[in-house]
Amino acid sequence: MSDASTHHADVAIIGAGPAGMAAASRLAEAGQVPVVFDLAPSPGGQIYRQLTAPQLGEDVMGRDYLRGRRLLERFERARIDYRPGSRVWWAKREGQGTTLGVLADRRSESWQVRRLIIASGAMERGWPFPGWQLPGVMQAGAGQILLKQGALIPDVPPVLAGTGPLLYLLAWQYLRAGCPPRLILDAAPRSRYATMLRRPLSTWHGRHYLLKGLGMLTTLRRAGVKVVHGIEGLRAEGNPHLQAVHYRRAGRWQSVDASMLLTHFGVVPEPQLSRGLGLPFDWHPSQQAFVPHREEASLAAAPGIWLTGDGAGIGGALNAEREGHLAALSILAAKGEPVENERTPLVQARRRELSARALLEALFRVPDGWLAAQPETTLVCRCEAVSLGELDAAMAQGAAGPGQLKAFTRCGMGPCQGRLCGESVTRLLAGHLGTTMNAAGYYQVRPPLHSITLGELADSAAPPAP
Protein backbone atom coordinates (compact mmCIF):
# COMPACT_ATOMS: atom_id res chain seq x y z
CA MET A 1 0.00 0.00 0.00
CA SER A 2 2.65 2.51 -0.98
CA ASP A 3 1.99 5.93 -2.38
CA ALA A 4 3.68 4.79 -5.55
CA SER A 5 0.45 3.09 -6.55
CA THR A 6 -1.34 6.43 -6.66
CA HIS A 7 -0.98 8.70 -9.67
CA HIS A 8 -0.94 12.43 -9.24
CA ALA A 9 -2.20 15.20 -11.48
CA ASP A 10 -2.45 18.92 -11.04
CA VAL A 11 -5.45 19.16 -13.36
CA ALA A 12 -7.74 16.32 -14.36
CA ILE A 13 -10.64 16.69 -16.76
CA ILE A 14 -13.44 14.17 -16.96
CA GLY A 15 -15.03 14.07 -20.38
CA ALA A 16 -13.69 14.81 -23.85
CA GLY A 17 -16.72 16.51 -25.35
CA PRO A 18 -16.69 20.19 -26.30
CA ALA A 19 -16.24 21.41 -22.70
CA GLY A 20 -13.49 18.95 -21.81
CA MET A 21 -11.64 19.41 -25.11
CA ALA A 22 -11.76 23.20 -24.85
CA ALA A 23 -10.55 23.18 -21.25
CA ALA A 24 -7.74 20.73 -21.95
CA SER A 25 -6.59 22.51 -25.09
CA ARG A 26 -6.48 25.91 -23.44
CA LEU A 27 -4.56 24.57 -20.44
CA ALA A 28 -2.13 22.75 -22.70
CA GLU A 29 -1.54 25.92 -24.70
CA ALA A 30 -0.47 27.54 -21.42
CA GLY A 31 2.05 24.78 -20.81
CA GLN A 32 -0.01 22.65 -18.45
CA VAL A 33 -0.42 18.94 -19.14
CA PRO A 34 -3.91 18.06 -17.98
CA VAL A 35 -5.00 14.45 -17.80
CA VAL A 36 -8.28 13.79 -19.61
CA PHE A 37 -10.39 10.75 -18.81
CA ASP A 38 -13.11 9.87 -21.27
CA LEU A 39 -15.45 6.91 -21.64
CA ALA A 40 -15.37 6.90 -25.41
CA PRO A 41 -12.63 5.45 -27.62
CA SER A 42 -12.17 8.77 -29.43
CA PRO A 43 -12.70 12.40 -28.43
CA GLY A 44 -15.74 14.50 -29.31
CA GLY A 45 -18.35 13.62 -26.71
CA GLN A 46 -21.84 12.79 -27.93
CA ILE A 47 -22.15 15.85 -30.13
CA TYR A 48 -18.93 15.30 -32.10
CA ARG A 49 -18.83 11.53 -31.81
CA GLN A 50 -16.76 9.82 -34.49
CA LEU A 51 -15.75 13.17 -35.91
CA THR A 52 -12.12 12.00 -35.86
CA ALA A 53 -13.13 9.78 -38.79
CA PRO A 54 -16.59 10.94 -39.87
CA GLN A 55 -18.79 8.34 -41.46
CA LEU A 56 -21.02 10.85 -43.22
CA GLY A 57 -20.60 14.33 -44.61
CA GLU A 58 -22.32 17.64 -44.12
CA ASP A 59 -25.05 16.72 -46.61
CA VAL A 60 -26.52 14.25 -44.11
CA MET A 61 -25.14 15.38 -40.76
CA GLY A 62 -25.55 19.13 -41.19
CA ARG A 63 -23.11 21.90 -40.56
CA ASP A 64 -23.13 21.85 -36.77
CA TYR A 65 -21.55 18.41 -36.59
CA LEU A 66 -18.64 19.24 -38.86
CA ARG A 67 -18.13 22.51 -36.99
CA GLY A 68 -16.53 20.51 -34.18
CA ARG A 69 -13.51 19.70 -36.33
CA ARG A 70 -11.59 22.81 -35.37
CA LEU A 71 -11.89 22.05 -31.69
CA LEU A 72 -11.00 18.43 -32.27
CA GLU A 73 -7.88 19.29 -34.24
CA ARG A 74 -6.83 21.73 -31.54
CA PHE A 75 -7.30 19.01 -28.93
CA GLU A 76 -5.34 16.47 -30.94
CA ARG A 77 -2.47 18.89 -31.49
CA ALA A 78 -2.14 19.85 -27.85
CA ARG A 79 0.10 18.09 -25.36
CA ILE A 80 -2.49 16.37 -23.20
CA ASP A 81 -2.41 13.17 -21.19
CA TYR A 82 -5.52 11.91 -22.97
CA ARG A 83 -6.88 8.60 -21.73
CA PRO A 84 -9.77 7.28 -23.81
CA GLY A 85 -11.79 4.29 -22.66
CA SER A 86 -11.47 5.36 -19.02
CA ARG A 87 -14.28 4.96 -16.53
CA VAL A 88 -14.14 7.17 -13.49
CA TRP A 89 -15.97 4.84 -11.14
CA TRP A 90 -14.88 6.45 -7.87
CA ALA A 91 -14.63 10.10 -6.89
CA LYS A 92 -14.26 11.55 -3.45
CA ARG A 93 -13.18 14.94 -2.19
CA GLU A 94 -10.25 14.39 0.10
CA GLY A 95 -7.88 16.88 1.67
CA GLN A 96 -6.47 19.17 -0.97
CA GLY A 97 -8.29 17.77 -3.95
CA THR A 98 -10.16 14.79 -5.25
CA THR A 99 -9.37 11.09 -5.30
CA LEU A 100 -10.47 9.29 -8.45
CA GLY A 101 -10.71 5.60 -9.17
CA VAL A 102 -10.22 5.13 -12.90
CA LEU A 103 -10.81 1.87 -14.70
CA ALA A 104 -9.07 1.33 -18.03
CA ASP A 105 -8.02 -1.89 -19.75
CA ARG A 106 -9.65 -3.86 -16.94
CA ARG A 107 -7.43 -2.32 -14.30
CA SER A 108 -8.33 0.32 -11.77
CA GLU A 109 -5.87 2.99 -10.74
CA SER A 110 -6.25 5.63 -8.11
CA TRP A 111 -5.51 9.23 -8.90
CA GLN A 112 -5.00 12.15 -6.58
CA VAL A 113 -5.88 15.33 -8.43
CA ARG A 114 -5.55 18.85 -7.19
CA ARG A 115 -7.95 20.51 -9.63
CA LEU A 116 -10.82 18.72 -11.29
CA ILE A 117 -12.87 19.92 -14.23
CA ILE A 118 -16.01 17.90 -14.67
CA ALA A 119 -17.21 17.93 -18.26
CA SER A 120 -19.11 14.68 -18.30
CA GLY A 121 -22.09 15.92 -20.25
CA ALA A 122 -25.77 15.21 -20.37
CA MET A 123 -28.00 12.23 -20.89
CA GLU A 124 -31.42 11.82 -22.39
CA ARG A 125 -34.15 12.15 -19.83
CA GLY A 126 -35.72 8.91 -18.65
CA TRP A 127 -39.36 9.38 -19.53
CA PRO A 128 -41.67 6.47 -18.80
CA PHE A 129 -44.58 5.44 -21.00
CA PRO A 130 -46.13 2.02 -21.46
CA GLY A 131 -43.86 -0.21 -23.52
CA TRP A 132 -40.75 1.95 -23.43
CA GLN A 133 -38.80 -1.17 -22.47
CA LEU A 134 -39.69 -3.00 -25.70
CA PRO A 135 -36.98 -3.83 -28.24
CA GLY A 136 -37.61 -1.45 -31.10
CA VAL A 137 -37.98 1.54 -28.79
CA MET A 138 -34.87 3.68 -28.45
CA GLN A 139 -34.01 7.20 -27.55
CA ALA A 140 -33.46 9.58 -30.43
CA GLY A 141 -29.91 10.14 -29.23
CA ALA A 142 -29.23 6.42 -29.72
CA GLY A 143 -30.43 6.72 -33.31
CA GLN A 144 -28.08 9.61 -33.84
CA ILE A 145 -25.16 7.77 -32.24
CA LEU A 146 -25.67 4.89 -34.68
CA LEU A 147 -25.73 7.38 -37.52
CA LYS A 148 -22.47 8.99 -36.42
CA GLN A 149 -20.76 5.78 -35.43
CA GLY A 150 -21.45 3.71 -38.49
CA ALA A 151 -23.74 5.57 -40.91
CA LEU A 152 -26.53 3.30 -39.69
CA ILE A 153 -30.10 4.29 -40.49
CA PRO A 154 -33.38 2.47 -39.89
CA ASP A 155 -34.24 0.08 -42.71
CA VAL A 156 -37.93 0.97 -42.38
CA PRO A 157 -39.23 4.49 -41.71
CA PRO A 158 -39.34 4.98 -37.91
CA VAL A 159 -41.81 6.89 -35.77
CA LEU A 160 -40.27 9.76 -33.81
CA ALA A 161 -41.98 11.03 -30.68
CA GLY A 162 -41.43 13.53 -27.91
CA THR A 163 -40.21 17.07 -27.82
CA GLY A 164 -36.96 18.93 -28.27
CA PRO A 165 -34.60 20.05 -31.01
CA LEU A 166 -32.91 16.65 -31.29
CA LEU A 167 -36.16 15.10 -32.47
CA TYR A 168 -36.31 17.36 -35.51
CA LEU A 169 -32.58 17.23 -36.13
CA LEU A 170 -32.66 13.44 -36.28
CA ALA A 171 -35.76 13.50 -38.50
CA TRP A 172 -34.00 15.90 -40.83
CA GLN A 173 -30.83 13.79 -40.89
CA TYR A 174 -32.86 10.64 -41.63
CA LEU A 175 -34.61 12.50 -44.41
CA ARG A 176 -31.27 13.58 -45.86
CA ALA A 177 -30.07 10.01 -45.57
CA GLY A 178 -33.02 8.84 -47.62
CA CYS A 179 -35.08 7.39 -44.81
CA PRO A 180 -37.68 10.00 -43.84
CA PRO A 181 -39.56 9.21 -40.63
CA ARG A 182 -42.99 7.77 -41.07
CA LEU A 183 -44.47 10.13 -38.50
CA ILE A 184 -43.36 12.71 -35.97
CA LEU A 185 -45.40 12.87 -32.79
CA ASP A 186 -44.66 16.17 -31.06
CA ALA A 187 -45.69 16.47 -27.42
CA ALA A 188 -45.65 20.26 -27.67
CA PRO A 189 -48.93 21.82 -28.70
CA ARG A 190 -48.71 23.90 -31.83
CA SER A 191 -49.92 26.95 -29.85
CA ARG A 192 -46.66 26.89 -27.93
CA TYR A 193 -44.87 28.42 -30.85
CA ALA A 194 -46.80 31.60 -30.07
CA THR A 195 -44.64 31.76 -26.93
CA MET A 196 -41.96 33.14 -29.18
CA LEU A 197 -43.88 36.31 -29.71
CA ARG A 198 -44.10 36.97 -26.01
CA ARG A 199 -40.34 36.88 -25.54
CA PRO A 200 -38.95 39.24 -28.15
CA LEU A 201 -35.48 39.63 -26.62
CA SER A 202 -35.00 35.93 -26.13
CA THR A 203 -36.30 35.33 -29.63
CA TRP A 204 -33.77 37.72 -31.06
CA HIS A 205 -30.89 36.00 -29.27
CA GLY A 206 -32.21 32.62 -30.23
CA ARG A 207 -33.01 33.49 -33.83
CA HIS A 208 -30.33 31.21 -35.22
CA TYR A 209 -31.71 28.20 -33.40
CA LEU A 210 -35.25 29.13 -34.31
CA LEU A 211 -34.49 29.70 -37.96
CA LYS A 212 -32.60 26.44 -38.10
CA GLY A 213 -35.50 24.63 -36.46
CA LEU A 214 -38.04 26.29 -38.68
CA GLY A 215 -35.96 25.43 -41.73
CA MET A 216 -35.82 21.78 -40.72
CA LEU A 217 -39.54 21.66 -40.06
CA THR A 218 -40.29 23.21 -43.44
CA THR A 219 -37.98 20.77 -45.21
CA LEU A 220 -39.61 17.83 -43.43
CA ARG A 221 -43.13 18.99 -44.28
CA ARG A 222 -42.24 19.62 -47.91
CA ALA A 223 -40.86 16.10 -48.08
CA GLY A 224 -44.26 14.86 -46.92
CA VAL A 225 -43.29 13.88 -43.36
CA LYS A 226 -46.40 14.03 -41.22
CA VAL A 227 -46.07 15.91 -37.93
CA VAL A 228 -48.77 15.59 -35.29
CA HIS A 229 -48.60 18.23 -32.59
CA GLY A 230 -50.01 18.13 -29.10
CA ILE A 231 -49.51 14.44 -28.26
CA GLU A 232 -50.91 13.80 -24.76
CA GLY A 233 -50.04 10.15 -24.42
CA LEU A 234 -47.84 7.50 -25.98
CA ARG A 235 -47.88 3.72 -25.84
CA ALA A 236 -45.58 1.16 -27.46
CA GLU A 237 -46.92 -2.32 -28.08
CA GLY A 238 -45.69 -5.60 -29.50
CA ASN A 239 -44.19 -8.94 -28.60
CA PRO A 240 -41.34 -9.68 -28.64
CA HIS A 241 -40.65 -6.51 -30.58
CA LEU A 242 -42.40 -3.22 -31.18
CA GLN A 243 -45.31 -3.59 -33.58
CA ALA A 244 -47.50 -0.57 -33.00
CA VAL A 245 -47.32 2.92 -31.55
CA HIS A 246 -50.45 4.37 -30.02
CA TYR A 247 -50.78 8.06 -29.35
CA ARG A 248 -53.42 10.26 -27.86
CA ARG A 249 -54.34 13.62 -29.24
CA ALA A 250 -57.32 15.76 -28.26
CA GLY A 251 -58.45 12.97 -25.97
CA ARG A 252 -58.53 10.34 -28.72
CA TRP A 253 -56.16 7.39 -29.16
CA GLN A 254 -54.83 6.58 -32.62
CA SER A 255 -52.46 3.90 -33.79
CA VAL A 256 -49.75 3.41 -36.32
CA ASP A 257 -47.85 0.24 -37.20
CA ALA A 258 -44.16 0.64 -36.47
CA SER A 259 -41.13 -1.51 -35.83
CA MET A 260 -39.02 1.37 -34.57
CA LEU A 261 -39.91 4.21 -32.22
CA LEU A 262 -37.33 6.83 -31.36
CA THR A 263 -38.27 9.09 -28.48
CA HIS A 264 -36.83 12.27 -27.12
CA PHE A 265 -37.99 14.15 -24.06
CA GLY A 266 -35.08 16.48 -23.60
CA VAL A 267 -31.64 16.13 -22.13
CA VAL A 268 -30.63 16.60 -18.51
CA PRO A 269 -27.26 16.79 -16.74
CA GLU A 270 -25.81 13.33 -16.12
CA PRO A 271 -25.77 13.47 -12.33
CA GLN A 272 -23.67 10.58 -11.03
CA LEU A 273 -20.26 12.17 -10.80
CA SER A 274 -21.33 15.50 -9.32
CA ARG A 275 -23.79 13.89 -6.95
CA GLY A 276 -21.28 11.22 -6.02
CA LEU A 277 -18.95 14.03 -4.97
CA GLY A 278 -21.70 15.38 -2.74
CA LEU A 279 -22.15 18.60 -4.71
CA PRO A 280 -25.52 20.25 -4.08
CA PHE A 281 -28.18 20.28 -6.78
CA ASP A 282 -31.35 22.33 -7.25
CA TRP A 283 -34.39 21.73 -9.39
CA HIS A 284 -34.30 24.12 -12.32
CA PRO A 285 -37.94 24.81 -13.16
CA SER A 286 -37.24 26.06 -16.65
CA GLN A 287 -34.82 23.28 -17.64
CA GLN A 288 -37.04 20.86 -15.73
CA ALA A 289 -33.97 19.17 -14.39
CA PHE A 290 -31.78 18.95 -11.33
CA VAL A 291 -28.80 21.20 -11.90
CA PRO A 292 -25.68 21.40 -9.71
CA HIS A 293 -24.74 24.62 -7.93
CA ARG A 294 -21.70 26.51 -9.15
CA GLU A 295 -20.32 30.00 -9.01
CA GLU A 296 -21.53 31.86 -12.05
CA ALA A 297 -18.27 33.74 -12.63
CA SER A 298 -15.67 31.00 -12.10
CA LEU A 299 -17.85 27.90 -12.75
CA ALA A 300 -16.39 26.46 -9.53
CA ALA A 301 -18.70 24.18 -7.56
CA ALA A 302 -16.34 23.60 -4.65
CA PRO A 303 -12.70 24.37 -3.92
CA GLY A 304 -10.75 22.69 -6.71
CA ILE A 305 -13.81 21.50 -8.66
CA TRP A 306 -15.21 23.18 -11.77
CA LEU A 307 -18.41 22.14 -13.54
CA THR A 308 -18.65 22.78 -17.25
CA GLY A 309 -20.86 21.96 -20.19
CA ASP A 310 -24.22 20.25 -20.30
CA GLY A 311 -23.47 18.27 -17.15
CA ALA A 312 -23.79 21.53 -15.25
CA GLY A 313 -27.01 22.66 -16.94
CA ILE A 314 -28.11 22.34 -20.53
CA GLY A 315 -26.58 25.07 -22.68
CA GLY A 316 -25.59 23.28 -25.87
CA ALA A 317 -22.26 22.54 -27.53
CA LEU A 318 -21.09 26.09 -28.15
CA ASN A 319 -21.81 27.07 -24.58
CA ALA A 320 -20.04 23.95 -23.36
CA GLU A 321 -16.97 24.89 -25.34
CA ARG A 322 -16.98 28.38 -23.82
CA GLU A 323 -17.45 26.97 -20.33
CA GLY A 324 -14.53 24.61 -20.74
CA HIS A 325 -12.46 27.54 -21.92
CA LEU A 326 -13.62 29.65 -18.94
CA ALA A 327 -12.81 26.92 -16.43
CA ALA A 328 -9.33 26.68 -17.90
CA LEU A 329 -8.97 30.45 -17.52
CA SER A 330 -10.10 30.24 -13.88
CA ILE A 331 -7.28 27.81 -13.24
CA LEU A 332 -4.75 29.87 -15.17
CA ALA A 333 -5.85 33.03 -13.34
CA ALA A 334 -5.24 31.31 -10.02
CA LYS A 335 -1.75 30.54 -11.24
CA GLY A 336 -1.22 34.23 -11.83
CA GLU A 337 -1.68 34.41 -15.58
CA PRO A 338 -3.39 37.49 -16.99
CA VAL A 339 -6.63 36.23 -18.55
CA GLU A 340 -9.10 39.11 -18.15
CA ASN A 341 -8.92 40.26 -21.77
CA GLU A 342 -9.56 36.76 -22.96
CA ARG A 343 -12.34 36.21 -20.45
CA THR A 344 -14.52 39.22 -21.11
CA PRO A 345 -15.61 38.43 -24.68
CA LEU A 346 -16.21 34.81 -23.71
CA VAL A 347 -18.44 35.80 -20.82
CA GLN A 348 -20.38 38.17 -23.05
CA ALA A 349 -20.84 35.65 -25.82
CA ARG A 350 -21.92 33.08 -23.31
CA ARG A 351 -24.47 35.42 -21.77
CA ARG A 352 -25.97 36.21 -25.19
CA GLU A 353 -26.15 32.54 -26.06
CA LEU A 354 -27.75 31.56 -22.76
CA SER A 355 -30.39 34.26 -22.98
CA ALA A 356 -31.90 32.23 -25.82
CA ARG A 357 -32.12 29.12 -23.64
CA ALA A 358 -35.21 30.22 -21.74
CA LEU A 359 -37.09 30.36 -25.00
CA LEU A 360 -35.92 26.91 -26.13
CA GLU A 361 -36.77 25.55 -22.69
CA ALA A 362 -40.27 27.00 -22.93
CA LEU A 363 -40.74 25.76 -26.49
CA PHE A 364 -39.69 22.22 -25.71
CA ARG A 365 -41.08 21.93 -22.21
CA VAL A 366 -42.01 18.37 -21.26
CA PRO A 367 -45.52 17.97 -19.83
CA ASP A 368 -45.16 17.94 -16.03
CA GLY A 369 -48.29 15.88 -15.45
CA TRP A 370 -47.19 13.10 -17.82
CA LEU A 371 -45.91 10.54 -15.32
CA ALA A 372 -48.88 10.69 -12.97
CA ALA A 373 -51.19 10.11 -15.94
CA GLN A 374 -49.51 6.86 -17.04
CA PRO A 375 -51.22 3.50 -16.45
CA GLU A 376 -50.07 1.83 -13.23
CA THR A 377 -48.34 -1.02 -15.07
CA THR A 378 -45.91 1.44 -16.71
CA LEU A 379 -42.32 0.66 -15.72
CA VAL A 380 -40.59 3.52 -13.95
CA CYS A 381 -37.42 1.60 -13.09
CA ARG A 382 -36.47 -0.42 -16.14
CA CYS A 383 -33.59 -2.27 -14.51
CA GLU A 384 -35.58 -3.74 -11.66
CA ALA A 385 -38.90 -3.65 -13.52
CA VAL A 386 -40.65 -1.53 -10.89
CA SER A 387 -43.99 -0.17 -12.05
CA LEU A 388 -45.75 3.06 -11.27
CA GLY A 389 -48.41 1.13 -9.38
CA GLU A 390 -45.81 -0.51 -7.13
CA LEU A 391 -44.32 2.88 -6.34
CA ASP A 392 -47.74 4.32 -5.57
CA ALA A 393 -48.41 1.42 -3.20
CA ALA A 394 -45.08 1.88 -1.42
CA MET A 395 -45.68 5.60 -1.01
CA ALA A 396 -49.09 4.84 0.45
CA GLN A 397 -47.34 2.53 2.94
CA GLY A 398 -45.14 5.31 4.22
CA ALA A 399 -42.20 5.62 1.84
CA ALA A 400 -41.71 9.36 2.16
CA GLY A 401 -38.36 9.89 0.46
CA PRO A 402 -36.30 8.55 -2.44
CA GLY A 403 -34.14 6.43 -0.15
CA GLN A 404 -37.11 4.81 1.55
CA LEU A 405 -38.91 4.30 -1.76
CA LYS A 406 -35.83 2.63 -3.19
CA ALA A 407 -35.55 0.42 -0.11
CA PHE A 408 -39.20 -0.60 -0.27
CA THR A 409 -39.37 -1.38 -3.99
CA ARG A 410 -35.81 -1.84 -5.40
CA CYS A 411 -36.53 1.12 -7.69
CA GLY A 412 -33.12 2.51 -8.68
CA MET A 413 -31.17 -0.47 -7.34
CA GLY A 414 -30.29 -1.92 -10.73
CA PRO A 415 -27.25 -1.53 -12.95
CA CYS A 416 -28.17 1.94 -14.26
CA GLN A 417 -28.08 3.04 -10.63
CA GLY A 418 -31.13 5.24 -10.84
CA ARG A 419 -30.00 7.37 -13.75
CA LEU A 420 -33.19 6.69 -15.69
CA CYS A 421 -35.70 6.65 -12.83
CA GLY A 422 -34.26 9.27 -10.47
CA GLU A 423 -36.22 12.20 -11.82
CA SER A 424 -39.42 10.16 -12.02
CA VAL A 425 -39.11 9.08 -8.41
CA THR A 426 -38.70 12.67 -7.29
CA ARG A 427 -41.67 13.71 -9.39
CA LEU A 428 -43.84 10.99 -7.86
CA LEU A 429 -42.81 11.86 -4.31
CA ALA A 430 -43.33 15.57 -4.89
CA GLY A 431 -46.82 14.79 -6.17
CA HIS A 432 -47.63 12.38 -3.39
CA LEU A 433 -46.34 14.61 -0.60
CA GLY A 434 -47.62 17.82 -2.17
CA THR A 435 -44.17 19.33 -2.01
CA THR A 436 -41.50 20.75 -4.30
CA MET A 437 -38.96 18.76 -6.31
CA ASN A 438 -36.20 20.08 -4.06
CA ALA A 439 -38.02 19.10 -0.89
CA ALA A 440 -38.85 15.66 -2.27
CA GLY A 441 -35.11 15.11 -2.81
CA TYR A 442 -33.08 12.69 -4.90
CA TYR A 443 -31.33 9.37 -4.46
CA GLN A 444 -28.07 9.38 -2.58
CA VAL A 445 -25.47 8.58 -5.25
CA ARG A 446 -22.58 6.41 -4.15
CA PRO A 447 -19.81 4.55 -5.93
CA PRO A 448 -19.44 2.75 -8.22
CA LEU A 449 -20.22 5.65 -10.55
CA HIS A 450 -19.54 3.25 -13.42
CA SER A 451 -19.58 -0.49 -13.36
CA ILE A 452 -16.52 -2.36 -12.18
CA THR A 453 -16.19 -6.08 -11.52
CA LEU A 454 -15.10 -7.45 -8.17
CA GLY A 455 -12.08 -8.93 -9.94
CA GLU A 456 -11.07 -5.54 -11.32
CA LEU A 457 -11.62 -4.06 -7.89
CA ALA A 458 -9.60 -6.80 -6.20
CA ASP A 459 -6.74 -6.64 -8.71
CA SER A 460 -6.55 -2.88 -8.69
CA ALA A 461 -3.53 -1.18 -7.24
CA ALA A 462 -4.15 -1.02 -3.54
CA PRO A 463 -5.18 2.45 -2.49
CA PRO A 464 -3.09 4.13 0.17
CA ALA A 465 -4.19 3.72 3.73
CA PRO A 466 -5.79 6.94 4.92
Binding site: L39, A40, P41, Q46, Q50, A53, P54, Q55, L56, G57, V60, M123, E124, W132, Q133, P135, G136, V137, M138, Q139, G141, A142, I145, L146, Q149, G150, A151, L152, I153, P154, D155, A177, G178, P240, H241, S259, M260, E270, R382, C383, E384, A385, G414, P415, C416, R419, L420, H450, S451, T453
Partner: protein
Protein backbone atom coordinates in the same frame (compact mmCIF):
# COMPACT_ATOMS: atom_id res chain seq x y z
CA UNK B 1 -33.48 -3.01 -38.38
CA UNK B 2 -30.55 -0.79 -39.32
CA UNK B 3 -28.71 -0.58 -42.59
CA UNK B 4 -25.46 1.11 -43.44
CA UNK B 5 -25.75 4.00 -45.85
CA UNK B 6 -24.20 3.41 -49.23
CA UNK B 7 -22.50 6.78 -49.25
CA UNK B 8 -20.80 6.20 -45.90
CA UNK B 9 -17.09 6.85 -45.73
CA UNK B 10 -15.14 3.66 -46.37
CA UNK B 11 -14.42 2.05 -43.02
CA UNK B 12 -11.92 -0.55 -41.99
CA UNK B 13 -13.72 -3.82 -41.31
CA UNK B 14 -13.07 -6.30 -38.51
CA UNK B 15 -14.33 -9.82 -38.04
CA UNK B 16 -16.33 -10.47 -34.91
CA UNK B 17 -18.10 -13.63 -33.82
CA UNK B 18 -21.74 -13.43 -32.79
CA UNK B 19 -22.87 -16.65 -31.17
CA UNK B 20 -20.13 -18.49 -32.97
CA UNK B 21 -20.82 -17.05 -36.42
CA UNK B 22 -18.25 -14.77 -38.04
CA UNK B 23 -19.35 -11.36 -39.34
CA UNK B 24 -17.47 -8.51 -40.93
CA UNK B 25 -18.41 -5.18 -39.35
CA UNK B 26 -17.13 -1.59 -39.58
CA UNK B 27 -14.42 -1.03 -36.98
CA UNK B 28 -16.05 2.21 -35.83
CA UNK B 29 -19.03 0.41 -34.27
CA UNK B 30 -19.53 -0.46 -30.65
CA UNK B 31 -20.36 -4.07 -29.83
CA UNK B 32 -24.00 -3.09 -29.26
CA UNK B 33 -24.19 -1.19 -32.53
CA UNK B 34 -22.72 -4.18 -34.34
CA UNK B 35 -25.39 -6.48 -32.93
CA UNK B 36 -28.18 -4.05 -33.85
CA UNK B 37 -26.80 -3.81 -37.36
CA UNK B 38 -26.31 -7.55 -37.78
CA UNK B 39 -29.46 -8.98 -36.22
CA UNK B 40 -31.57 -6.10 -34.91
CA UNK B 41 -32.98 -5.41 -31.47
CA UNK B 42 -35.26 -8.43 -31.22
CA UNK B 43 -33.89 -10.87 -28.69
CA UNK B 44 -30.95 -8.64 -27.83
CA UNK B 45 -31.09 -9.65 -24.17
CA UNK B 46 -33.36 -11.54 -21.78
CA UNK B 47 -34.37 -9.54 -18.75
CA UNK B 48 -34.56 -11.02 -15.25
CA UNK B 49 -38.15 -9.85 -14.93
CA UNK B 50 -39.13 -11.66 -18.14
CA UNK B 51 -39.29 -10.42 -21.69
CA UNK B 52 -36.54 -9.01 -23.82
CA UNK B 53 -34.63 -5.79 -23.68
CA UNK B 54 -32.51 -3.94 -26.19
CA UNK B 55 -30.31 -0.84 -25.95
CA UNK B 56 -32.21 2.34 -25.21
CA UNK B 57 -29.58 5.07 -25.00
CA UNK B 58 -26.37 3.77 -26.63
CA UNK B 59 -24.35 6.15 -24.45
CA UNK B 60 -23.63 4.26 -21.26
CA UNK B 61 -26.68 5.25 -19.25
CA UNK B 62 -29.42 2.63 -19.52
CA UNK B 63 -27.47 -0.64 -19.18
CA UNK B 64 -29.98 -2.41 -21.40
CA UNK B 65 -27.15 -3.19 -23.85
CA UNK B 66 -25.52 -5.71 -21.48
CA UNK B 67 -23.91 -8.53 -23.45
CA UNK B 68 -21.23 -11.17 -23.01
CA UNK B 69 -17.98 -10.03 -24.61
CA UNK B 70 -15.07 -12.46 -24.87
CA UNK B 71 -16.62 -14.63 -22.20
CA UNK B 72 -17.28 -11.78 -19.80
CA UNK B 73 -20.94 -11.37 -18.99
CA UNK B 74 -22.82 -8.12 -18.56
CA UNK B 75 -20.48 -5.79 -20.37
CA UNK B 76 -21.95 -2.51 -21.57
CA UNK B 77 -21.97 -3.24 -25.29
CA UNK B 78 -22.47 0.41 -26.23
CA UNK B 79 -19.19 1.46 -24.60
CA UNK B 80 -16.94 -1.25 -26.00
CA UNK B 81 -15.68 -0.82 -29.56
CA UNK B 82 -15.60 -3.94 -31.72
CA UNK B 83 -12.20 -5.51 -32.23
CA UNK B 84 -10.80 -8.17 -34.50
CA UNK B 85 -11.78 -11.60 -33.23
CA UNK B 86 -14.17 -10.30 -30.56
CA UNK B 87 -16.68 -12.91 -29.45
CA UNK B 88 -20.19 -11.76 -28.58
CA UNK B 89 -22.98 -13.75 -26.99
CA UNK B 90 -26.40 -12.34 -26.34
CA UNK B 91 -27.52 -13.21 -22.84
CA UNK B 92 -30.30 -15.67 -22.18
CA UNK B 93 -32.00 -16.34 -18.89
CA UNK B 94 -31.15 -19.79 -17.59
CA UNK B 95 -34.01 -22.10 -18.56
Amino acid sequence: MFKRLDNAAPAAMVTIWLEGQPHSVPATLSAAAAVLWLVGATGYRDHAAGGHRAPLCMMGVCHDCLITIDGQPNRQGCLVPVAEGMRLERQRRPA
